[in-house]
């Protein structure tokens, strides 16, 4: 009994379960469509149950990143171990992953009719790999999962995507693969540094964190940009975002949902865990740069959305814009911004995931995604239209729905992240939320991001106006004239069926719940995020030496620096 309990409550089970079902699917014969679908559903639902078990006993409100840690030795000569752990952030993102699993399987019931085994097996493998990314506590293990997510998605896009899928899949793979190799170099640098200092070879997060934080500013800068090379591409941040719209547009619906819902979060999660956790000094140094990039992304991608005629591409670009808020919140470098950002990861996964599902449903019926060819669908598909409006509003950030809370917190974090105000607060003018620390951004950044909110509202409402309201305009005369939807006509009702409503309802419920009462999650996030904020604050107060790396200097430097730096946060902020 005890052993069974241990197994059920162990983290790797969440990775192994989908993989196991993927193996079972491989064992099926190609003709057994029903069995394959049932296995796929089981392979995603059972992890949900597992997650509920874990979540039920999880201590949500403590900031320990290594909670439930479990380590097996694997490759001792190279310091690589199978090490798993979870904190609140990992748990939330794993929750998002396991939730989207069954939804993706159910969403593919009618859309995917060929090579079912390949499709569902890779979907499950992707599920396992994504869970692994969030649970890994060993750098190489993390990297293994992080890279391995590319393969299933490459295959899903390539085999089940639309017309331009080959170019999209190749671009997606090459972009992310290139970036993450540089990231690997950065991570390895920290491990080498650790070995030089401690004569122990390890890739354990916890052990490397301390080493990384004590590196000189110059080293931290290099490591920071190396890490960013991979993570910024994954997010994707403004100048390196070009792969995303293409991949999204060409991917099958479930692929888009996973891509928007979870895969992009690997980037922000990476920034949170590694950039902020490992090289806080460099983060402080480059926070304004990153914030400017994210704001450019927010506005620029928003404007691009406005001129799209392909509705899927529109939502894809909106992801770029939304993730800009997420990164802005991260680089606010205070507890509010960080919490908002993590919440944003979840919210974006829910609402944008749902939008992709809705667009997929339209595409299955009309075989087009062009805004020019359809309009006023509220008359033809009232249920679909209600969901569409609901999730678009969640995405716009309507108060009362989930998007609002996190967007507001990200901007508020950026607003508060201002050294002048902090100095004022020190002098006795309280009135700021707890967790306010000096920072590198400030009201201007929040203002600029606020412009982005307006742009967001513009393009999303423009989309709604085109597609949902107005005179009814169905593509191709009536529905059902596509070349290969002989089956679809038989299977799909005109408006949404029970299966489709069933997969949208949980998302809608969560959007509403997180919008109305986000407090439990925020409370659970608070210890983790304020722990990171504290690390950053510590790094502000004891900046690492900047010059050429010198071991001895690096280790004594924090003690050498008098506390005088704290007294002049203004000058520090002002100089940037």
């Amino acid at each position: 009994m005890g052993m069974l309990h241990d197994i059920i409550y162990s983290l790797p089970l969440g990775i192994v379960l989908p993989l196991f079902f993927a193996l079972l699917i491989c064992g099926c014969r190609p003709g057994q469509g029903k069995l394959i679908r049932a296995l796929a559903l089981a392979g995603t639902l059972i992890p949900c149950v597992w997650y509920l078990f874990i979540a039920g006993t999880f201590t949500w409100d403590h900031g320990d990143a290594d909670y439930l840690k479990l380590t097996y030795h694997w490759f001792p000569a190279a310091g690589i171990s199978l090490s798993f752990g979870a904190d609140t952030i990992s748990m939330l993102l794993v929750g998002l992953t396991v939730l989207l699993g069954p939804i993706c399987v159910l969403a593919s019931y009618t859309a995917i009719t060929e090579r079912l085994r390949t499709y569902y097996a890779w979907l499950l493998i992707l599920q396992g790999a994504m869970t692994g990314v969030f649970l890994a506590r060993d750098l190489i293990l993390f990297y293994t999962f992080f890279e391995f997510t590319l393969v299933p998605l490459y295959i899903l896009i390539n085999l089940y995507g639309s017309t331009n899928r080959r170019a999209a899949a190749t671009k997606f793979f090459l972009y992310t693969f290139t970036g993450s190799l540089i990231t690997l170099a950065g991570l390895v640098y920290v491990a080498v540094k650790h070995h030089a200092g401690h004569h122990a070879w390890t890739f354990d997060f916890h052990a490397l964190e301390a080493t990384a934080r004590s590196m000189t500013l110059r080293e931290q800068t290099w490591v920071f940009w190396a890490l960013l090379a991979g993570f910024a591409i994954k997010v994707p941040l403004f100048p390196v975002h070009t792969w995303l719209p293409l991949a999204h547009t060409e991917a099958p619906t479930a692929g888009s949902v996973i891509l928007a819902g979870v895969l992009l979060k690997l980037g922000t999660y990476g920034i949170f865990r590694f950039a902020l956790g490992f090289v806080p000094a460099a983060c402080i140094h480059f926070a304004p740069t990153l914030a400017v990039l994210s704001i450019i992304g927010i506005i620029y991608a928003g404007l691009i959305c406005w001129v799209q005629t392909d509705v899927k591409k529109l939502v894809a670009y909106s992801s770029v814009s939304h993730l800009g808020f997420c990164v802005l919140g991260l680089f606010a470098l205070n507890s509010v911004g960080l919490s908002g950002s993590v919440l944003y990861m979840i919210n974006h996964g829910l609402s944008t995931g749902a939008l992709f599902l809705l667009i997929g449903m339209i595409y299955e019926r009309y075989h087009t995604r062009s805004l020019k060819e359809m309009g006023g669908l509220a008359r033809a598909m009232p249920i679909w239209a209600s969901f569409m409006v609901f999730f678009t509003m969640a995405s716009v950030g309507l108060p009362g729905l989930n998007g609002f809370v996190s967007e507001f917190m990200c901007m508020f974090g950026a607003f508060q992240s201002d050294s002048h105000r902090w100095a004022a607060a020190q002098a006795g003018h309280t009135g700021l939320l707890s967790g306010a620390t000096p920072g590198e951004l400030g009201p201007w950044f929040a203002l600029a991001a606020g412009t982005g909110v307006i742009v967001t509202a513009m393009y999303l409402l423009y989309m709604l106006g085109k597609i949902v309201w107005g005179p009814l305009h169905e593509p191709g005369g009536s529905h059902g004239h596509g070349h290969d939807d002989g089956h679809a006509r038989g299977v799909l009702p005109k408006d949404l069926g029970a299966r489709e409503i069933g997969i949208l309802l949980p998302l809608a419920a969560l959007c509403l719940a997180l919008g109305l009462y986000p407090t439990p999650i925020l409370r659970a996030l608070e210890p983790s995020t304020s722990a990171v904020a504290r690390v950053i604050q510590h790094s502000r107060e004891n900046p690492p030496p900047s010059g050429v790396p010198a071991e001895s200097v690096a280790s004594i430097a924090p003690a050498d620096h008098p506390a005088s730096d704290i007294a002049h946060p203004t000058s520090e902020g002002g100089s940037r």
């Binding site: 190279a78 391995f148 085999l159 390895v188 640098y189």
Partner: protein, 571 residues
């Protein structure tokens, strides 16, 4: 330290087997002729076991792998790892060689014609296969320039013949001739280097050369003549590993040879070349620091490394090799040519490990670039042989002509039509790409760690970028095999299994299992590689103090004592 002969038992076993096979292959009886691959297998297995355990037996500790000094070089444990590696991969490659020679002759014999022993090449082919492997083993245990030269030539000479024999077509003959002439050029270059080393140091024995080089060294670089010698020797050996200035033959020769032999060429001479390069670099050692005014200093920092001249040259070669290999591979259509360029690129990756060197004394596996190279050699060998095996298993019929299915389009839908071959191709190419969690990734990580550990950060970044470029053509393999539907046009060439495909599948299967399965025991292999890459630093350190007061010739006694003493402590 054992007497040299006892350490050479693995080579002796292989050599004797090769002689047996040479006679066996000419036999009148078909059954005896067919025995030759089996005899080869037994010989390889025996010699592998001998390499692994014989030193232990001789020291009275049966069934233990000895890690101490076996030969009198700066890489004292290289022989064990090198020989075991060669024996294991030789066994993996053996089924791939099935059906390469005597196809028509055997077919004629089956039709009732008497077997023409004079025209048969089977005996030669298998014995040359073994001779070449013997040569690699000897390279790993070389402790003398002449020895090394003979070992390198023993590796290469049989391969020229194997290439020429590998198909009945003219292109094989052409490839063989091309390979031979360029090989001879390479040999001339490194022989010239050896001569200069001898001229500068007055000895051909590695131990004496090192001692002499260190004794006559300046503050930041060894004696110029010796250095030129080592540089030339390394350049010559670049031919064996297909590194950039000497790489031109690679795609042509691989394409001209049959896929089986091309797979052999992609691994065997490369292994010999890397053993030789490591040994040659160890002659001068990774013990030098740059002149403070040297421009390289700003780029690399000033940790102990190879002498500046050698390091700069290797650096440039490594970068050009990786880049040229990967960029040119993108433009190819022939699978064998792509794999040839990929093998060039991989040589570049491994050179990073050589440049990084063994790291500070007592470095673990992850800081030891030589161990990383040894590990990578094993991983690379398994992956690339698998990819070649896939080509070797398939024939393409266009009209009445039968040829190897060498065009990348011939692999369309392979994972659907022939899952075993298709997956072998997909996994080999993804492994070569270095995608986690496959074997190639765990080969690449130590190169990253060792490179960064040695301060070669720009080199590691270039390595990373090159791996990304490589993604483009490795993805094409995966795409063609897995994603594209098999060709259904009637005019398309018909793809069918080649005559000896049954046996060759075994190599493919072993390679596929290795790419995935060896990851589980990667830790063990890494330990073994770390053992093999042990660098006997005291060797040079002991000689170094002598540099100050014994720089003048004529005082060898003190030096010798200084060199000998800690040297024995190390043993």
């Amino acid at each position: 330290m054992e007497s040299k002969l006892t350490l050479l038992w693995p080579e002796i076993i292989l050599f004797l087997t090769a002689c047996c096979v040479m006679i066996l292959g000419q036999s009148r009886h078909k059954d005896s002729r067919n025995l030759s691959p089996w005899v080869c297998g037994v010989g390889l297995a025996l010699s592998g076991l001998a390499a692994l355990y014989l030193p232990g037996f001789l020291a009275g500790q049966p069934w233990t792998i000895r890690a101490d000094k076996l030969v009198d070089t700066a890489l004292p444990s290289l022989p064990i790892y090198g020989k075991v590696l060669v024996a294991v991969l030789g066994l993996v490659m053996l089924p791939l060689m099935a059906g390469v020679s005597d196809r028509e002759l055997e077919a004629a014999a089956d039709r009732g014609r008497p077997f023409e022993a004079l025209r048969s090449t089977r005996g030669e082919f298998y014995s040359f296969f073994l001779f070449s492997l013997t040569g690699v083993m000897l390279c790993a245990s070389a402790d003398d320039l002449i020895f090394l030269f003979l070992a390198l030539e023993l590796t290469s000479l049989p391969t020229y013949v194997m290439v020429a024999l590998s198909t009945a077509r003219n292109r094989s003959m052409e490839a063989g001739v091309k390979y031979f002439f360029l090989g001879a050029l390479g040999a001339a270059v490194f022989l010239y280097g050896f001569a200069l080393i001898y001229g500068a140091t007055g000895s051909t024995h590695f131990h004496d050369i090192t001692r002499s080089i260190v004794a006559s060294a300046g503050a930041h670089a060894p004696n110029t003549l010796a250095l030129i010698g080592v540089v030339l020797a390394v350049l010559g050996v670049c031919f064996k590993i297909a590194a950039v200035p000497m790489h031109f033959y690679t795609p042509d020769v691989y394409q001209g040879a049959s896929a089986s032999v091309a797979g052999f060429l992609a691994f065997v001479p490369k292994a010999a070349g890397f053993f030789a390069i490591m040994l040659l670099c160890s002659l001068v050692g990774w013990q030098w620091t740059s002149d403070p005014d040297h421009p390289a200093l700003a780029l690399f920092g000033n940790a102990p490394h190879l002498p500046d001249a050698l390091r700069t040259i290797l650096w440039v070669i490594a970068v050009m090799t990786m880049t040229a290999g990967n960029v040119l591979a993108i433009m190819q259509h022939s699978v064998k040519r792509i794999l040839a360029y990929s093998s060039i690129a991989h040589s570049g990756y491994m050179l990073v490990g050589v440049i990084a060197g063994p790291g500070p004394e007592g470095s673990p596996f992850s800081r030891n670039g030589l161990a990383a190279v040894l590990f990578y050699l094993a991983a690379y060998g398994i992956m690339t042989i698998g990819a070649f095996a896939v080509v070797a298993c398939l024939d393409k019929k266009t009209g009445s002509q039968t040829d190897e299915a060498d065009d990348i389009e011939d692999l369309r839908g392979l994972a659907l039509t022939r899952p075993l071959l298709g997956w072998t191709m997909v996994l080999s190419s993804m492994g070569l790409l270095g995608l986690p969690p496959l074997l190639g990734f765990f080969g690449k990580v130590p190169l990253f760690t060792a490179g960064i550990g040695a301060g070669e950060i720009p080199l590691v970044i270039i390595l990373g970028i090159n791996s990304a470029i490589a993604a483009y053509y490795y993805l094409r393999f995966a795409y063609v095999c897995f994603i594209e539907a098999p060709e259904s046009l009637p005019s398309a060439p018909k793809i069918e299994p080649s005559p000896a495909a049954g046996a060759r599948h075994i190599t493919g299967f072993l390679s596929m299992v290795g790419v995935v399965g060896l990851v589980v025991i990667a830790g063990r292999i890494a330990d073994f590689a770390a053992k093999g890459g042990t660098y006997d630093a005291p060797f040079i350190k002991a000689a170094k103090p002598a540099e100050d007061h014994a720089a003048k010739p004529g005082e060898p006694a003190g030096e010798q004592a200084a060199a000998k003493e800690p040297h024995e402590h190390g043993g």
